[in-house]
Structures are given as structure tokens and as C-alpha cells.
């Protein structure tokens, strides 16, 4: 097994680098590089055994923490676990010096270039950069012109992909200047790997990441424009939403940084300022960490088809009273062809030599470069000059047939400016755990830079990506590449004490009334669907006992009415001559049909949809329930899944025991209470006042009918306890309406509704909120002042009582929507004039 070159005590017999590539671990002479030898030394006598165990732990942690993957490929997809290799990428102190110096310079350079591009355009005038690269560039956003003139920073954060060439030098493969991703995943990787290899991590002296994030946060606060009354500036994290592939890390990062996670619809502009729509009204936003691509940020002045943006954002940016991190427009310089000009630009703009080289690039818009590319087509990588929809895809010259290569050459000759050629870097390799052993894999490392205090800081860590099959093309995570944590080694690192997450919960904007309207709306509907689904599940469970009950045979009208109610709540009905068994079958078939409106399956689907929307605001316990609910919904017969009711009860219990009592919580409970009130009225109305075909006054309900109502409203047990089994209409109605002690009764719901309404913010609508509260009080007094004996004696009074309660409920629902869910007005493009 062991190659003769290796020493006897080599901890990695069998690990050999790939020919012609630089390996991070083993030097060409067969010895281990010192930092790898030290790391392997921490793994104990049998590194393979340690790593095997760690890989298992790591994989479990990924699944337990539900890393990202549920949302990573969109809300509906069956998610793969986040691909994380437990073996870290090690970066030696001397390598880090080179990298961080180079990246800081690069960030300064790009910041200056972007400020100039969206300002005086000196470097276009001086011809250091061919004008075409800006003027024909679809990512140069002309409405943003002028944003570079403002004082301050254009490029707040920035990411690069970097690789190592066979001679050991680092080369930048691409720059990400607009809304780079990966920072959140890096952090998540670090937390998992650090806890998996905790002993090794401590023994290795690895640079910590928390300071970088603290600085990043402080820097945004410092740059944000001053707020009124000495308030803490409100900074939000703008995401394209749950459908985005990297939504997980948006949620993760927002939480870590302590910024509210918002979508475009949560924000609005007026008078050149940006506001967050909250249940407490509009709250001014001082800073936006932006993960929506620039072009999609403002349907008024940029891509008018975008539903992710905020109308007026560009104009607000021009006003300078909101900090955008990053400022709009950075994608213009992300083009691969820029790499061909970075060296001269650095000379001319910063007056320095470019420290960290870019992979050799030739832009075909220049004659000499085009000739070179055409002459070397078979060895180069050919890329579109500008990344955009419908652009040509990246082609590897070496992989093309002669005919394909000729066709490509013809295209380049026809539209030279649209292409650039790049040298194919033989990427260096690093050990990865694969099939029970460490094997060398070619890697690309993503590093992150952020502005702080007049300079840039490089995060001492990063995100390494590699193809687990050992292939070498730069693969995307979408296409199955895997990731690693990056450990930057430093002798001084261990001195710094570990720090908690930087989010400080005590800051001003965590106040309850800043709950975004959209979140409040979603939580309200979470409450409503939760109640509706639980109710449907419970009623379905009651079918069998109902049909088996001996009185059902004696009083078949009650059984029939009960089944009719179940059908009605599924928005369905049956033929007049259908047998009870046929009706029961129809109910069960429809219950499992998610396409059938009002069915259990349809309500469950809605519940899952809303839970997906709000899950990032809920603790992980909810996520587990959500996973189980998804599994139930995927079954052929969801209504037969015995733990459905239990899962729903778990959500309820978690809601009471785990969630903070903030405004959002009140909306969740309001949804629940309002829905339960509706259900009680619906059931009582249908059972006690069944429509008579002859239009007769409804008869006095029989004892069995009353008992069934108690059963359906889940009040039978409590009623029996309190009334010792006397089924009298007056006392049953009293228990369901006026009794404050019955948690399934109307008065109980009304009092809770009034309490929750009283806890909602008031200043948002000084007239409408008191009206809402008055409605809630009427609901309470309606049930409190009712005379159950009179109701029992007079069906018409009963009817009036039900309809008045229903009317107040509708009023409350409408007012809640109008006052607090104002985000619902989404802008639409008008036809141009």
C-alpha cells in the first residue's frame, strides 16, 4: 500500500497528490506540509478512525440543524442535505498574509472603480478600460449613475473565488461585487465543523470569525444616516424570498447579525427615504444589506418586471439617506473580461502593482487579444463577456470537437466584444474525506471582504467548494459540488476569547411594533389554518364513533346532519338519497384530495405553505414538525395518519411555550381564536338550526343532537365534568356561549380576542384601532350578556345571536387586515405613455 517514498510514521499512507497540481497537504518530495502534519497530529493515533467518526457526526449535525437544505433549492423540492466535508481547508499564516493583503487592495480598487463608473467615469475617459466594457454592458445601470459621487462606500462587502496554480501561487478566478453569497454558509460550516472537531479546533489555533461580523455590523451602523431622537439606526436584510436558492443563508445571516429579514414587499419609499412596513406603521430604514441583485431592486427605474424590488429605491439611493450594502450597480464590474484590465487599472487608479493576480484573461474586443484567443482556442476557456440571460455559455476549448471549435471561432469573429478567453487553471488540491479515506480534490476557495473603519477586512475563513468526484471544472453547488470550512491558522489566534453572536437583542428596533406587516399577516393565517386543519382532523375522527353510536340508529337525522356538516365544511354536498355510509366515504375521499377546496388535505397544504413562509422566524422545534407535516401531506391518505392531530397540537404547545410574546405571537393567537369562534358558530348553527325543507321553525333540539354538538365542539368532556351529564339545552348553550370557564366556548374565545387586540400597536391608526378594540369588546359582551335559557327556548333568538356574532367577527377580521397588513398592495407596472 504505502509508497516507498513515505516515512514509516506517515499518518496518511496512500494519500498522493495529483500529477501536475499543487497539493495543500503533501509537498512534491512526499513530506507533509508542516501545518497539515500538525493538524493530522491532533487527530490521534488513527486519523482515519477519527475522521470517519467525525464525518458521521458532521452529516448528522447537518440534518439535525436542517441546514439550509429545506429551502436551498426552492420551497417545494425534496432537499438534499447541505454538502459539507468535515475535513477543513487549512490556510497557513504566510498564505493568509498574501491573500488578505491582495484582497484588501482588490476591494479598494473595485470600490474606487465602481465609484468612478457611477460617477465621473474618469477611467473610461482615460481609456485604461475600453469604453465598450461599460457602454455595452447590460449590468451598467444608467439610472444609478451619480451614486458613485456620494461620500462613503460603494462596495461594502465583496467575495472572490480563488484557486492555486501548480507553482503554488494564488489566482483570482472571479470577483463578486453586487450581492455575493456564501457568507452565511461559511458561518454555518464553521459552527458545525468546530463542534464536530472541537478538540482539533482548539489544538490548532484557528482564527475566529466573530470579530469580522462584529466589525461588519458596527461599520454599517456607523455609516447609516443619523436617526431621529437618537434611535438606533434600523438596518434590514433584503432577500429575494424563500424561492431563492440561498434563502437559508439569508435567514441565517440576518438572524446572526440581528437584522430583520425582509422582502421587497416589506419595504416602501417616500420622499427619497426607505421604510419598513410594520404592524406599528412605517418605520424608517437607515441601512439595507442587499441580497437582491441590483437590476431587480427597483421596478420603477430598473427591471420593470421585477417583483422582488422596491419602487423608488434608486431614487432613494440618490437621496443618500439610506445606506445600501452594496450600493446598486456593482454587477457591472463582475464581468470576466474585467480581469484582463485589472492590472493596468490598479496601476493607474491606485498607483500600485496588483498584488493578487487574476487568472489570465483576454477580451476579444481588442484585436491582439482576439487573435491570441483564436489561435489558442483549444486550450482556453471561452466565456461570455457579460453574464446575462441568453448569453452564450462557458465553453472549455479542450472539450470541443473540431466542428464546434470552428463554429465558436466564427461567433467570436462576428461579435468579438461578446467573448473573452481565459486560461484554464490547473486547480490545486486539498484532502477531502471520501469513501473512507482522505483523497486529493481540486478546490476553489471563496473569501469574503468587508468595509470597516476606513479599510477593508478579510474574513479569516471562507467557503471552499470542490467536486466530490475529483473533477476539476468550477462546479456550482446546484450541480452537486461540496463545501468545506476554511481554517486560517495563526499563532495569535487562540488568544482572542470566543465571542457570542454579535446580535444584541436589546437594541431599539427589536420592539414589538416593528413586526413586519407581512410576517404578522402570515402568522395570523398560520393560526387560522392551524385551527381549521385541527378541526377538520378532529371531525373526521368523529365519523366512526358517530355512526356506531346506538342512538344514531334511533335518530338518523342527527347522524345525517352531522355528515352533511362535514361535507359542507369541505364545500361539498351529497345526494338526498345517499346512505350514511356513502356520505362517510365521500367525506373521506374528499378529505384526502388537496385539490378539493376546504378539504383536510387542502388546509394542510395551506398550513404548510404558511409555515414555510414564517419558518425562519420560528425556532427549530417547529421545523421538525413542519418536516413531519410535509411527510403526512405526501401520503395517499393524510386523514389516516394518526399523528396529524398530535403534530398540530405540538405547534400549538410550542406557540405557547417557546415563542416570545411579541406582536407576531398575538397575531398567531388571534388567527387561532377567530377561526375557532367561526367553527363553533358554524357547527352550532348547522346542528341546532338545520334548514328545514318546509321552512318550518326549527324544532327544539333533541338530547342526542345537543350531545353531538358538544362532541363536535370538543366540549363534551368538560361539560360532563361540570354538569354531571344532564343534557339540557339551556345549560349546554350556556356552556358553549356564556361560560367563561370553557376554553372551547364563545365567551372564552371572545375574551382572548379582546386581550390580543388590546396588545396590538395603537399609533399606526389612531381612529381605526379604537374601533377595532370596540368591536372586540362587543364580541365579549355579546357572549357574556346572552341569556342561554331564552336562546334555548327561542330558535329565532339563537339565530340572531349567531349572525350578530358572525358579523362582529367579520368586522374584526377586516379591520385587522386594513390596519396591520398593509403590505398587501403590491405595485404593478402601468403601461407606459
Amino acid at each position: 500500500m504505502a509508497t516507498p517514498l513515505l516515512a514509516q510514521d506517515d499518518p496518511l499512507p496512500g494519500y498522493v497528490g495529483l500529477a501536475g497540481r499543487y497539493d495543500e497537504c503533501r509537498a512534491p518530495d512526499g513530506t507533509l506540509r508542516p501545518h497539515w502534519a500538525a493538524f493530522l497530529g491532533t487527530l490521534g493515533a488513527d486519523p482515519s478512525a477519527t475522521l470517519r467518526a467525525a464525518a458521521d457526526t458532521c452529516a448528522r449535525a447537518v440534518i439535525e440543524q436542517d441546514v439550509s437544505m429545506n429551502v436551498y433549492a426552492g420551497a417545494r423540492s425534496e432537499s438534499k442535505p447541505w454538502p459539507l466535508d468535515v475535513v477543513p481547508q487549512l490556510v497557513s499564516e504566510s498564505d493568509w498574509q498574501v491573500l488578505s493583503d491582495g484582497l484588501r487592495q482588490r476591494a479598494h480598487l473595485y470600490n474606487t472603480l465602481l465609484s468612478d463608473l457611477y460617477g465621473p467615469q474618469k477611467f473610461l475617459r482615460s481609456r485604461v478600460l475600453p469604453a465598450q466594457l461599460a457602454m455595452a454592458n447590460p449590468h451598467f445601470l444608467r439610472p444609478c449613475s451619480g451614486l458613485g459621487i456620494h461620500r462613503g462606500v460603494f462596495l461594502h462587502h465583496y467575495a472572490v473565488d480563488i484557486g492555486r496554480s501548480p507553482d503554488g501561487h494564488w489566482w483570482v478566478l472571479q470577483d463578486r461585487l453586487d450581492a455575493p453569497s456564501g457568507l452565511g454558509y461559511s458561518l454555518q460550516n464553521r459552527l458545525i465543523v468546530r463542534s464536530t472537531l472541537s478538540r482539533e479546533f482548539r489544538a490548532t489555533q484557528v482564527e475566529r470569525l466573530d470579530r469580522f461580523f462584529r466589525d461588519y455590523r458596527a461599520s454599517l451602523s456607523d455609516l447609516s444616516p443619523p436617526t431621529n431622537y437618537g434611535e438606533e439606526p434600523r438596518i434590514v436584510f433584503l432577500t429575494p424570498g424563500p424561492a431563492n436558492e440561498t434563502y437559508f443563508e439569508h435567514a441565517y445571516l440576518a438572524r446572526y447579525l440581528g437584522y430583520p429579514l425582509v422582502e421587497g414587499a416589506d419595504l416602501t419609499t417616500r420622499d427619497r427615504q426607505v421604510f419598513l412596513r410594520t404592524v406599528g406603521g412605517l418605520k424608517r430604514v437607515a441601512g439595507i444589506v442587499r441580497r437582491v441583485d441590483s437590476g431587480f431592486c427597483d421596478p420603477l427605474e430598473l427591471n420593470s418586471h421585477s417583483v422582488l424590488g422596491v419602487p423608488g429605491l434608486v431614487h432613494a439611493a440618490h437621496g443618500g439617506r439610506v445606506v445600501l450594502a452594496n450600493q446598486l450597480g456593482g454587477a457591472a464590474l463582475e464581468s470576466s473580461c474585467m480581469l484582463a484590465f485589472l492590472k493596468p487599472l490598479c496601476r493607474s487608479v491606485l498607483g500600485e502593482d496588483l498584488r493578487l493576480p487574476s487568472v489570465a484573461t483576454w477580451w476579444c474586443g481588442q484585436r491582439a487579444a482576439r487573435d491570441y484567443v483564436l489561435d489558442n482556442l483549444s486550450s482556453l476557456v471561452i466565456k461570455p463577456s457579460f453574464r446575462e440571460r441568453g448569453a452564450v455559455s462557458t465553453r472549455y476549448g479542450a472539450l470541443l470537437s473540431d466542428r464546434e471549435r470552428d463554429a465558436l471561432a466564427a461567433n467570436i469573429r462576428a461579435r468579438p466584444g461578446a467573448y473573452c478567453g481565459q486560461e484554464r487553471l490547473m486547480l490545486g488540491t486539498t484532502p477531502a474525506w471520501s469513501d473512507g479515506a482522505l483523497r486529493p480534490v481540486p478546490f476553489v476557495m471563496r473569501l469574503f471582504v468587508a468595509w470597516h473603519d476606513g479599510d477593508y477586512r478579510v474574513m479569516p475563513g471562507g467557503l471552499t467548494r470542490f467536486d466530490p468526484t475529483g473533477a476539476d471544472a468550477i462546479v456550482s453547488l446546484q450541480k452537486g459540488s461540496a463545501t468545506k470550512d476554511v481554517w486560517v491558522l495563526s499563532r495569535g489566534a487562540a488568544d482572542e476569547p470566543a465571542q457570542a453572536a454579535p446580535a444584541d437583542a436589546g437594541s431599539g428596533y427589536a420592539r414589538a411594533e416593528s413586526t413586519p406587516s407581512r410576517l404578522a399577516d402570515n402568522l395570523y393565517w398560520l393560526g387560522r389554518y392551524l385551527e381549521r386543519t385541527a378541526q377538520m382532523a378532529r371531525l373526521l375522527d368523529l365519523i366512526d364513533p358517530l355512526l356506531r353510536h346506538e342512538i344514531a340508529a334511533l335518530e338518523p337525522a342527527v347522524a345525517r346532519d352531522s355528515l352533511r356538516i362535514l361535507l359542507a365544511s369541505q364545500q361539498s354536498w351529497s345526494e338526498a338519497d345517499a346512505s350514511l355510509a356513502e356520505m362517510a366515504t365521500q367525506i373521506r375521499v374528499e378529505a384526502d384530495d388537496a385539490e378539493h377546496p376546504g378539504s383536510l388535505a387542502a388546509n394542510l397544504a395551506q398550513l404548510i405553505r404558511v409555515l414555510d413562509q414564517v419558518k425562519v422566524n420560528l425556532p427549530p422545534e417547529f421545523w421538525r414538525v413542519l418536516r413531519r407535516l410535509r411527510a403526512i401531506a405526501a401520503q395517499e391518505h393524510p386523514h389516516l395518519e394518526s399523528d396529524l392531530g398530535q403534530q398540530l397540537a405540538t405547534i400549538d404547545a410550542l406557540g405557547n411555550e417557546v415563542l416570545p410574546r411579541d406582536t407576531g405571537w398575538h397575531f398567531l393567537k388571534l388567527g387561532r381564536r377567530i377561526e375557532r369562534t367561526r367553527q363553533i358558530i358554524f357547527l352550532a348553527d348547522e346542528l341546532l338550526l338545520p334548514e328545514s325543507p318546509d321552512g318550518d321553525e326549527p324544532a327544539q333540539p333533541s338530547e342526542f343532537r345537543l350531545q353531538t354538538l358538544l362532541h363536535f365542539t370538543d366540549s363534551l368532556f368538560t361539560y360532563k365534568t361540570v354538569y354531571h351529564g344532564q343534557y339540557q339545552a339551556a345549560s349546554i348553550l350556556a356552556w358553549l356561549t356564556a361560560a367563561a370557564e370553557n376554553p372551547r366556548g364563545l365567551r372564552f374565545q371572545a375574551e382572548r380576542i379582546a386581550e390580543h387586540v388590546a396588545a396590538l400597536p395603537e399609533e399606526v391608526a389612531p381612529r381605526a384601532v379604537p374601533a377595532l378594540r370596540a368591536a372586540a369588546f362587543r364580541l365579549v359582551s355579546n357572549s357574556k350578556l346572552v341569556d342561554p335559557a331564552a336562546l334555548a327556548a327561542n330558535p329565532r333568538m339563537l339565530q340572531d345571536f349567531f349572525s350578530s356574532t358572525e358579523a362582529i367577527l367579520t368586522e374584526i377580521n377586516d379591520k385587522l387586515t386594513q390596519i396591520y397588513f398593509s403590505h398587501s398592495d403590491r405595485p404593478e407596472a402601468a403601461r407606459g405613455a
Binding site: A131, R142, P143, D271, L300, G312, H315, D825, A830, G832
Partner: protein, 295 residues
């Protein structure tokens, strides 16, 4: 010299109340060598609290506002008084031959004005489609070598005009250029976009101009097409001379009777009124332009 008063009204009517609106306007006539905007007044009803303006990348004045009160109707009226001189056209014989243009343009873009470059490439509403090249072959393929740019423009423009029918019903803003060519119908905007695509593919920098022409023709003259709404035409860069405006809808070089509002790469850059509404349940749009000559 001529003086004009221009009134441009845009009226959105909604079926239901719109709760908010965001608008971006390009309505203020430019100041240029032969044109001076003496006064400009913008009226918006309901009155927006935050009307603001800035110069855009092309040097046009852009106004923006947000409306935050429920409204069923939004009326934007601009009134300008514009003084305009007859631009002097270069003598055709003194302009370079067509075949020399690409090299001269390239040099001008490098040495004089890098921004020429943006008028040579596709822009949001002007794709560089092969159909436009074919159309150009059809229109000007027979012109002899050595034809000067100005003669080439005049002839091509004239033939372009004759092979298309002005038809306000035929197209919308979203109608692709290929379809305009296939149907040989359209409005001033389509003709401008199409001619721009042709010119850019011949390496002549070409820009889009939005503006107005006289509503009522002077006595004894025919009324021009495109007079009762915003008009649009093309500006072509002639090396050695500069930008020359040509109106393919009325097959003429632009004189003192055209009023320039804004210049850009295409309609996307300079649309007179562009906006978003929230709520309102759909809307109808009416525009009216009146241009009168003053003493």
C-alpha cells in the same frame, strides 16, 4: 427662430382606488445648441408631496414622485415654452463616405467621446437583429460606393418611410422589432427603434429622441404624423459633424419644427411617463399633446 408652447397631459383612470403610485417622468424639453426651454411647469393631480428631479445619465431632466393617497385618477400635465432655431445640416458632399464611417467612428469613440460606444450596441428595446440588416440591404444595397453619409441617410430614410405604413393600431410598446419588419406597420417609436437597429449594425452610432412636433401644420403645409402624442425620431452620429436628427416617420431631417424632450439609447431610457400603481384594478391611459407656435 420659432417659439412654441407645449402642453402634454397624461391621465390614468382606475376602476377602483389605487392606494399608491410611483412615477418617473421625462417631460422637460432639453436645452441644446439650437433649443432653449424658456419655462417648464409640471402639474400633478392629486398633488404629490415629494416631487423631485435629477439629471439622468444622458443629461435629460427626470422628475420623480410618489403618491400615497388613495386615488382613482392621476393627471400629469406639463407646460413648456421652447425657443428653437433651425439646426444647420452639413452639406452632404462634405460628409464622409459610408465605407469610411466605421473607422472614423471608432477613432471618434476612442479619441473624442467614449459614450459614442453605447449607441453602437444593443440596448433594452433595440436588439441587433439580422432582419434589420436584411432590411437595410433591401433599402440601400444599390447605393454606389462613395455615397456620403448624409445622402445615404436621406435615401435610406426615404425608402424606409415608403416601405412602412404608419398605423397606431398595429403595434404596442412590447411588439418586437422583427414583427414590425414582418408587418411593415407601426408608429414613430417602432420606426425609430428599427432604424436605430439598422444604423448601429452599419456601425453608425444611433440614439433615440423623444419629443414633439407641431399639432397644426402651418398654412399650406401637410400635417405631420405623430403630432397628437409624444413623437420620436432618430439621431445619427456623423463623423466630422456630430449628431444629426432624422425623422423616419415624416421622412425628413429634423428642423426647427421638432422639439427635443429627451435623448437616450431607446424608449426605455426616456419614456415620458413611466409608473407603477398599487391597487386600482387596472387602468386606462389617455395622453394628449398640444404644440402651438407663439409669436
Amino acid at each position: 427662430m420659432a417659439r412654441y408652447s407645449v402642453t402634454h397631459t397624461t391621465r390614468y383612470a382606475h376602476l377602483a382606488f389605487a392606494s399608491a403610485s410611483w412615477q418617473s417622468l421625462h417631460l422637460q424639453p432639453r436645452n441644446e445648441a439650437v433649443q432653449h426651454c424658456e419655462s417648464f411647469e409640471l402639474q400633478v393631480a392629486p398633488h404629490p408631496p415629494d416631487l423631485a428631479s435629477r439629471f439622468d445619465y444622458f443629461g435629460n431632466k427626470q422628475h420623480l414622485f410618489t403618491l400615497r393617497e388613495p386615488h382613482k385618477e392621476l393627471v400629469i400635465t406639463s407646460r413648456s415654452i421652447v425657443r428653437r432655431d433651425e439646426p444647420s445640416l452639413p452639406m452632404a458632399g462634405l460628409t464622409p463616405a459610408m465605407e469610411d464611417v466605421p473607422a472614423l467612428v471608432e477613432r471618434a469613440a476612442v479619441e473624442d467621446d467614449f459614450s459614442l460606444e453605447q449607441y453602437l450596441h444593443a440596448s433594452p428595446l433595440v436588439p441587433l437583429i439580422p432582419e434589420a440588416v436584411a432590411l437595410l440591404g433591401e433599402l440601400s444595397g444599390d447605393l454606389p460606393p462613395g455615397t456620403s453619409v448624409m445622402d445615404w441617410l436621406a435615401t435610406t430614410g426615404e425608402r424606409f418611410n415608403r416601405s412602412f405604413t404608419f398605423d397606431p393600431e398595429a403595434t404596442q410598446i412590447s411588439t418586437p422589432l422583427g414583427e414590425v419588419i414582418a408587418r411593415r406597420r407601426g408608429v414613430c417609436q417602432d420606426f425609430a427603434h428599427l432604424l436605430i437597429s439598422c444604423l448601429r449594425q452599419r456601425r453608425i452610432p444611433a440614439a433615440y429622441v423623444s419629443g414633439y412636433i407641431l399639432t397644426q401644420a402651418p398654412a399650406g403645409k401637410e400635417r405631420m404624423l405623430g403630432a397628437d402624442a409624444s413623437h420620436a425620431w432618430v439621431s445619427a452620429f456623423v463623423p466630422g459633424t456630430g449628431w444629426v436628427d432624422y425623422d423616419p416617420t415624416n421622412r425628413c431631417f429634423v428642423g426647427s419644427g421638432h422639439i427635443v424632450v429627451a435623448r437616450g439609447r431607446d424608449f426605455f431610457d426616456v419614456s415620458p411617463v413611466k409608473g407603477l400603481f398599487s391597487g386600482g384594478g387596472g387602468q386606462t391611459l389617455e395622453t394628449g399633446v398640444t404644440v402651438e407656435e407663439r409669436d
